[in-house]
C-alpha cells in the first residue's frame, strides 16, 4: 500500500511537471521579445509599451523604440500591439489581472473609464514634458482638472470630395466659404440631378462625430455637461434625422440598402472609392488612405457653418500616451512618453500616421522636410485649429451609443421610424446607457 501510494504520487508529479513544462513552452514561445540580458552595469529597467496598430504603424513604432533603447541603454522596452478591437480586450484582461502595460496608447472614448477606475497615473506628478504642445491640445488630456493623458496627435472631421466628379457635374465648390446646412444639401442633390449614376454623398445619419458637430452648430452639445444624459433637444435630433432622410429621398445621399452595406471603418467598401458618391466625411488622418484608394487627388473642405462665432468646429484628440498607475518604473515610463511625444526624429518616422502631430515644432519641421501629403494635412489642420475649440471628453459608456445610433439611423433610412420617433427613441435608450456609466 505504502509503496503504491508513493508511486502514485511520483507519477502524478511527473504528469504535473509535464503539464507545467508544456505551459512553460507556450509562454516562452509567446514572448516575442525574449530576454533583456542580465543588465550591464547600472540596474536594468524593463517596461512595456502597448498600442493598437496597423502594419505600417507597427514598423514605425518598433523603429522609434529602437532609437529610444539606444538613447537609454538601461531601459528595455517590451512591445505589445494588437489591432483596435483586440487591443481593448487585451488591455481589459490585463487590467483584471493587475498587469497593465507601463505605457499605453489610449483613446478618448475609453480614457474616462480608465481614469475613473484608478488605472492611470496623474502625469502632472511625473517628468512628462508638455511644453512642445499648445495649451488647448494638452487640455484634451485633462480629466477632472488633472492631466492623465498626453495627446499624441490631434484630429478633426472634414468633408472630402472627388474633384473629377464635381467637374463632370459642372458644379464649383468654394472651399473657403462657410456654406449653410441647406446650401450644402442643395449641392448634394444637384450632383445627383446632373449625374444620375452618382449620389451626392455617403449617408452620415448614424455617424457620431458629425452628429456632435450638428448639435454644436445648433448651439447645443451631444452630451450634457455632467455626461449623464444626452445634451441636445429632441427637436434638434429629429431635425438631424429629417435632414438625411430628405437627402436620401432626393438622391443627395445613397439609398438605404446601399448605405447599410458599408461601414465607415472598412474603407475599401466606401462608395467614395467606387466613385458612386462625390462627397464623404472622414477624419483628417484618413486622408492618405482615401487618396491612395481613389487613385487621384482628393479635396478637403470644412463642414457647413464652420464660421459661426461659437466656434463649433471640434478638435479631437487622436490618441494619447498614458502611464499605468501601478507601474514600478514611473521614471522610465515618463522618459519613454517624452521621447515618443517630443523627439523630432520619432516625429519624422511617425509622419501623420497617428493623426496630426501634436508637438507644434515637430509638425512644422515635418511639413517642411517631408512635404507632400503631410504638408497638405498639416496646413489643413492649422486652418482648423484657428476656427476650432476642444471638445469635452466622452462620458463613460459613450462607446456603446454608436451601435444604438446606427440601428436607429438605419430604421429611419428604411422608413421604419419617422425622424420624431427616432429622436425620442435614441434619447430614451442613450440616457439609460449613460446613466449606467457613472
Amino acid at each position: 500500500m505504502e509503496r503504491s501510494r508513493r508511486r502514485f504520487l511520483a507519477v502524478t508529479a511527473i504528469g504535473l511537471a509535464a503539464t507545467v513544462s508544456l505551459a512553460g513552452c507556450g509562454s516562452a514561445a509567446g514572448n516575442t521579445t525574449g530576454g533583456s540580458g542580465s543588465g550591464s552595469g547600472a540596474k536594468q529597467e524593463n517596461i512595456t509599451l502597448a498600442w493598437w496598430t496597423n502594419p505600417s504603424r507597427t514598423k514605425m513604432t518598433q523603429q522609434a523604440v529602437q532609437l529610444f533603447e539606444k538613447k537609454y541603454p538601461n531601459i528595455h522596452v517590451t512591445m505589445e500591439y494588437a489591432p483596435w478591437s483586440g487591443y481593448w480586450t487585451k488591455l481589459a484582461t490585463e487590467a483584471a489581472g493587475n498587469s497593465l502595460p507601463d505605457v499605453m496608447q489610449m483613446d478618448a472614448s475609453r480614457l474616462n473609464e480608465y481614469v475613473t477606475k484608478g488605472r492611470l497615473m496623474d502625469l502632472g506628478q511625473t517628468a512628462v514634458d508638455t511644453s512642445g504642445e499648445s495649451k488647448s491640445t494638452v487640455s484634451l488630456g485633462d480629466v477632472n482638472g488633472k492631466l492623465y493623458a498626453l495627446p499624441v496627435a490631434i484630429n478633426a472631421i472634414c468633408y472630402i470630395y472627388n474633384p473629377a466628379l464635381l467637374k463632370q457635374a459642372g458644379i464649383t465648390y468654394d472651399t473657403s466659404k462657410s456654406y449653410t446646412w441647406s446650401q450644402f444639401a442643395n449641392i448634394l442633390i444637384q450632383i445627383h440631378q446632373k449625374l444620375p449614376n452618382v449620389y451626392g454623398a455617403t449617408d452620415d445619419i448614424w455617424q457620431g462625430a458629425p452628429l456632435a458637430y450638428w448639435a454644436r452648430t445648433h448651439g447645443q452639445s451631444l452630451y450634457s455637461t455632467d455626461g449623464k444624459s444626452i445634451g441636445m433637444s429632441q427637436q434638434t435630433l429629429a431635425a438631424w434625422f429629417a435632414y438625411w432622410l430628405n437627402l436620401q429621398q432626393k438622391g443627395g445621399v445613397v439609398p438605404a440598402q446601399q448605405n447599410s452595406a458599408y461601414t465607415h471603418s472598412d474603407l475599401q467598401s466606401s462608395p467614395f472609392l467606387k466613385q458612386q458618391v462625390a462627397f464623404t466625411y472622414m477624419f483628417i488622418g484618413e486622408g492618405p488612405q482615401y487618396q491612395t484608394g481613389l487613385g487621384s487627388t482628393i479635396q478637403r473642405v470644412l463642414y457647413p457653418e464652420w464660421s459661426q462665432s461659437s466656434k463649433p468646429y471640434m478638435l479631437h484628440p487622436s490618441m494619447y500616451w498614458t502611464i499605468s498607475s501601478q507601474t514600478k518604473h514611473p521614471k522610465a515610463a515618463a522618459n519613454l512618453v517624452n521621447f515618443l511625444e517630443n523627439d523630432p526624429q520619432v516625429s519624422k518616422i511617425f509622419q501623420n500616421d497617428r493623426g496630426i502631430t501634436a508637438n507644434v515644432k515637430n509638425m512644422k519641421a515635418d511639413a517642411a522636410a517631408l512635404g507632400g501629403i503631410v504638408k497638405v494635412q498639416d496646413d489643413f489642420m492649422s486652418q482648423i485649429q484657428q476656427i476650432a475649440s476642444p471638445v469635452p471628453l466622452d462620458p463613460p459608456n459613450a462607446g456603446q451609443l454608436n451601435s444604438v445610433l446606427k440601428t436607429i439611423g438605419q430604421e429611419v433610412t428604411f422608413n421604419k421610424l419617422t425622424p420624431d420617433q427616432a429622436a425620442a427613441q435614441f434619447i430614451q435608450q442613450a440616457n439609460q446607457i449613460l446613466a449606467q456609466g457613472s
Partner: protein, 310 residues
C-alpha cells in the same frame, strides 16, 4: 481430496493475486497520465463554468473587481429588447439552417455513395468547404461574393434579375448567412456516407423482390436505417448553430438594423466591447439552458422516429 482442493485453492490464489496486483499497479499510472487532462477539465472547463455562474450574479467590467449584484443581470436581460431580438434571430437561423444543411448533406451523400470512377476526388472536393467554412478567410470571401456588383449580382444580371443589396437589406442579410452554413455540409455528409455504407445490401434486395421502386426503397429502407445518424447530425448541428459567431462577426456584425444580431454575437458585444462581463456571463448561462432544453427535446422526440434495431 483435501490436498487437491487445497492445491486448487492455492493455485487460484496464486493466479489471482498477480492480476489484481497488476491492475492495482496500473491504476495509479493511468491516473498519472490522465493528470494533465484532469487538471484541464477541472480548471479550464469546470472551473471557468463555475466562475461564469458566479460572474452572472455580479457587475464586472474587468477594470475593477466584480461586485455582487444578485439577479440584476437576469432581470435586466429580460427587459432588454436586443436580447429578445437576438433570441428571435438565432432561432430563425437554427430552424432554417439546420434542416437545410441536413437535407443538402443527405442528398449529396446519397449521390456520392454511387460507385463512379474518380468518386474519391469528388468526395474530397465536396468535403473541402466544411474544413475552411468557419474560418475568417472563407467568411471574407463569402462577403465579397455577395457584395454589390459582386459575382452573385453579376450572374443574376445575366438573367436580367436585379438582386437586392444582399448585405444591406435587413430581410436578405440572414439568407447569406444561412447559405454559408448550408455550403459547409461536408462533415455531416461524411458521416452520412459512412452510414449509407453500413446498410446491409440484403434489405434492398428483399425490397426489390417485393417490388419496391427506388423511391420507395429510399424512403422505407435508407431513411429508417439512417435515422440514428440523422439524429446525431441533427443534434450536433442544432448545438453548433446556436453558437454561430465568426461568420456573423465578419460578414454582417449584426446589421443591418440588428437583423443578424445573433445570440453569441450580442454576448460578445456585451462582454468584450461594452465590458459588461456579468451581463455576458448571465447570457451564456441562459444559452446553456436553452441548448440543454433543445437537446432534451430532440432526445425526447427521438423515441418516435429513430430506429435502433438493425
Amino acid at each position: 481430496m483435501d490436498a487437491s482442493m487445497q492445491a486448487a485453492a492455492n493455485t487460484s490464489r496464486v493466479k489471482k493475486s498477480p492480476v489484481l496486483n497488476a491492475t492495482r499497479r496500473q491504476n495509479p499510472a493511468a491516473y498519472g497520465f490522465l493528470t494533465p487532462w484532469l487538471l484541464g477539465m477541472l480548471f479550464l472547463t469546470a472551473g471557468s463554468m463555475l466562475f461564469t455562474l458566479y460572474l452572472s450574479f455580479t457587475n464586472y467590467d474587468l477594470l475593477s473587481r466584480p461586485h455582487f449584484a444578485g439577479v440584476v443581470n437576469f432581470t435586466q436581460l429580460f427587459s432588454d429588447p436586443n436580447f429578445w431580438t437576438s433570441i428571435r434571430v438565432t432561432f430563425i437561423y437554427v430552424v432554417v439552417s439546420v434542416p437545410a444543411r441536413l437535407i443538402a448533406s443527405l442528398l449529396v451523400a446519397t449521390l456520392l455513395s454511387k460507385q463512379v470512377r474518380g468518386i474519391g476526388i469528388y468526395r474530397a472536393l465536396i468535403y473541402l468547404p466544411s474544413l475552411i467554412g468557419g474560418s475568417v478567410g472563407a467568411s471574407i470571401g463569402w462577403k465579397k461574393l455577395f457584395d454589390q456588383n459582386g459575382p452573385i449580382d453579376s450572374i443574376l444580371q445575366l438573367f436580367g434579375i436585379h438582386g437586392p443589396v444582399w448585405l444591406g437589406n435587413p430581410s436578405t442579410a440572414i439568407i447569406v448567412l444561412v447559405l454559408l452554413s448550408v455550403w459547409q455540409f461536408g462533415s455531416e455528409m461524411v458521416i452520412f456516407l459512412a452510414g449509407l455504407k453500413q446498410i446491409p445490401g440484403h434489405l434492398y434486395e428483399a425490397a426489390t423482390i417485393d417490388g419496391a421502386s427506388s423511391f420507395q426503397r429510399y424512403m422505407r429502407v435508407t431513411l429508417p436505417m439512417l435515422s440514428p445518424i440523422i439524429f446525431f447530425n441533427l443534434l450536433m448541428g442544432t448545438i453548433a448553430s446556436f453558437m454561430v459567431f465568426t461568420q456573423v462577426y465578419v460578414i454582417t456584425d449584426g446589421g443591418p438594423m440588428n437583423s443578424t444580431l445573433f445570440y453569441v454575437l450580442y454576448l460578445y458585444q456585451q462582454g468584450f466591447q461594452y465590458f459588461h462581463m456579468g451581463y455576458a456571463a448571465a447570457m451564456s448561462i441562459i444559452l446553456l439552458i436553452i441548448i440543454a432544453l433543445c437537446s432534451g427535446f430532440i432526445f425526447l422526440t427521438s423515441k418516435f422516429w429513430v430506429n435502433y434495431d438493425v
